[in-house]
Symmetry: C2
Subunit: 166 residues, 2 copies
């Protein structure tokens, strides 16, 4: 009998989320001293339509946490296949995330990424701490839709486009 590499709970969690597909978003914000921050996430979820509320999750050790902790607004971008490289950039080296002309300054000074399928501005209404993490609740206040593009999906550690209807 071998010693399991990880406890059952963690194995169950990992196996289930490997089987789960998720849409890709990029969330951006501005630090109190005016620096742009952003990160790629697969945790965006609708909470309610009236009022329009959504949630996303993050670790409170994440580089963007000090901004999210202190700001009132974030921009949430739904990513399409044409912005796949941008999704990858926003999960890579921090120094390169806003180095270029792939964004512009939008409402509340928030960086808005170009070429996305849509963006929306969320006012942070709750930051629920859970262990070293946080569930962020935003109320959507405005937004815009981009050109049509296939939704970008993350599954089994790769980026995919949607397939056939089933």
């Amino acid at each position: 009998m071998s010693i399991p590499e990880e406890p059952d709970a963690l194995a169950a969690f990992k196996h289930a989320f490997r089987r789960h597909a998720a849409g890709v978003v990029v969330i951006t914000a501005v630090t109190p001293d005016g620096k742009q921050v952003g990160f790629t996430a697969t945790s965006l979820a609708s909470l309610a339509a009236v009022p329009p509320l959504a949630t996303f999750n993050m670790a409170r050790v994440a580089s963007a946490w000090p901004a999210i902790e202190s700001t009132d607004y974030v921009a949430i971008h739904t990513m399409g296949v044409r912005t796949r490289n941008l999704a990858e950039r926003m999960s890579g080296s921090h120094d390169l995330r806003f180095d270029g002309d792939h964004w512009f300054v939008g409402p509340h000074g928030l960086p808005i990424l170009k070429g996305v399928t849509s963006w929306m501005i969320g006012r942070i209404v709750e930051r629920f701490p859970v262990a070293g993490n946080a569930v962020i609740v935003v109320q959507i206040e405005e937004g815009a839709v981009g050109d049509p593009d296939d939704a970008l999906i993350y599954h089994e550690r790769t980026y995919l486009k949607p397939g056939d209807q089933v």
Copy 2:
């Protein structure tokens, strides 16, 4: 100039979530008097791996809310393409959701759906109220993986399978 049918905030929210794809899960629980409840959701999100935490969202007027409000455990099933009809059934008529032999009694008396790509048992550790809704945080304690199957994706009001890598 015409009067807009909906406020800008709601339009922005709807347009963005129409562009967003999501993985499909079914969440089941048991009421205090032993009745099975369950519903299809697209809001499952990972919160942390250590400890293994996940979130899902629901309205507090949902039929399953009295069970979720009072129970300690839920079962979360990741759905594959072969269980597409089961995902649809679990969002349809309440009387039919557990009428059949498509489930068995698992840990904590929870109904476990057959044929899913994985299931995990979550202990409810937080129920955060937000307006008429709730963000539920679960800590995963155990689970199992099913046979391989394409992940079931919900996008633009239809069920899809994953497409090509991009």
